[in-house]
């Protein structure tokens, strides 16, 4: 029984990390450019465009206002189209990515917006073009905040992945649901909770350390 439990937990953890990791990768890949576009197209940005800013803002807001459980069910046809199935770890990546991307984009947007306007002016004065301002000023200056925001996103995604697990995506959520809830196996339920706590704490601690190391504003 003991060995079985450990095997079960290891498989579940790997599945959870896999679906969170892959979706987080896509969320970063799509969310960061979205945040950059949101900041730069705003009224006082370096590329003001009301139409782009508002339409992107709408997309982000709409996606963020749908609860994850509902989003996941609503996305089943799209998931089938992309992954070929609506069941299992890979099927969870589609709704997880879609939920995490706008969430992360908003958090990264805040960090980018907080970059001192004076630094952008200094970059313009030295002859930076817009691309160089984003690459040499906005992103490096906002990096500590972006890392902290990505950490928050990861923790939220662990949370969502458990919900995804409950409707057939696998991972720790699936184990907790099948053994803990349906069979009322308290031991497994507690073990899953402990693993989740450890995971979240590890992610948070790593994120905090990294963000602190990158932040050179207070040495």
């Amino acid at each position: 029984m003991h060995d079985q439990l450990i095997d079960l937990l290891i498989t579940g953890t790997i599945d959870t990390l896999l679906m969170v990791g892959v979706s987080a990768f896509f969320a970063l890949l799509i969310g960061l450019p979205m945040a950059v576009i949101l900041v730069n197209t705003s009224e006082h940005g370096i590329y003001p465009s009301k139409s782009i800013n508002q339409s992107l803002g709408w997309i982000v807001n709409i996606t963020r206002s749908i609860p994850f459980l509902i989003l996941m069910v609503a996305l089943i046809p799209l998931t089938r189209l992309i992954v070929g199935t609506s069941y299992g770890v890979w099927a969870a990546v589609v709704p997880l990515t879609l939920a995490a991307t706008p969430f992360f984009a908003r958090i990264a947007e805040v960090s980018l917006r907080e970059v001192d306007q004076g630094l952008i002016e200094a970059a313009q004065a030295m002859g930076c073009n817009r691309k160089q301002i984003v690459w040499h000023v906005l992103l490096p200056e906002a990096l500590p905040g972006i890392v902290a925001g990505f950490t928050v996103t990861l923790v939220t995604m662990i949370n969502s992945s458990a919900i995804a697990g409950a409707i057939g995506a696998g991972g720790l959520g699936d184990i907790a649901y099948r053994y803990g809830y349906q069979r009322f196996d308290m031991q497994i339920m507690l073990a899953v909770i402990v693993v989740l706590i450890v995971l979240v704490m590890l992610i948070q601690a790593t994120g905090d350390t990294l963000a602190n190391q990158l932040d050179k504003r207070k040495i």
Binding site: G118, A123, Q124, H136
Partner: protein, 356 residues
Amino acid sequence: MVSFGSQIDFSVPHIQIRHLNKFYDVQGKQVHALKNINLDIPQGKILGIIGKSGAGKSSLLRTLNGLEQANEGSIHIHQQEIATLNHQDLIQLRQKIGMIFQHFNLMSAKTVWENVALPLKISNFNKADIEQRVNEVLELVGLSDKAQHYPSQLSGGQKQRVGIARALVSHPEILLCDEATSALDPESTSVVLSLLKEINQKLGITIVLITHEMQVIREICDQVVVIEKGEIVESGQVWSVFSNPEQPITQELLNLEQLDLPFALYPEKDNTVSHTILKLKYASEAKHSPDLAQILNRFGHSVHLYQSHIDTIQNHLVGTLIVGVADLDIDLQQLQQQLKNQIAHLEVLGYARPTH
């Protein structure tokens, strides 16, 4: 593509501003921020623009490198019109104009070395050239030992010196200073000011600075422009503007308004007063300092000194004397005529009965 400074004609001003007007909207109301500005900035000189906050000096400075756009008028830099430049040419122009800021605006995530290297990096210089040039300018500002520090580890004065190094790294012809010493303590201020003077003299860079502190103008500028409500109200050589400021705003900025006399001053003569209180302003070349005995003898009465002040600006002695003469019937015109070689300006402040 435009080329800047390839053929420098020293007979024309380095920067020529003509009929410059700028408007902007504040909550639906149009504000006339710059009013018909005409200004010639000579090659290799330091021009100071002084005014209170909101006077438009910051806007004026920012139109010189296109950070702000004027609505009307022209700006020529080496006879190249900059108002009509496209984005690409504007970027090229900015690489030839350095700028430093009140709050330094250094990248917090980059080391001193990386901050100074940034202007070269974005213009795609090769690594060896960047290395050599960055070390050169860090040496010039005296911060070679801080190259691997982050800005947060530096003092205000050191940060501004990094700002200066960054502005100089791409061999600019013009340096714009936006209240460069306003956030610094007096000691750092004089370090930064002497560095700017040194740069101007060693490298021949034209410097345009804006400030609200007369001390900055006095210490390093050759010419001064006083700006009020978007308009140039007074301009000229620093020593001449300082010795005889005509506009109330200039006098206020020079802090000459305060008259702290140990007795009451009356505007009219009556039987209670005994002395005429005079203000004598002088401005002469340093080697011809005014002969006090000669001046005071002209009055033919006893003369009491109440205030005096003298400054050396650009090799000129500039100062004022406030004296009380025991004579109520001074012929001002005649006196002015007699003293014209010594005293630049003479005025009666009022009448008083000093008790001595």
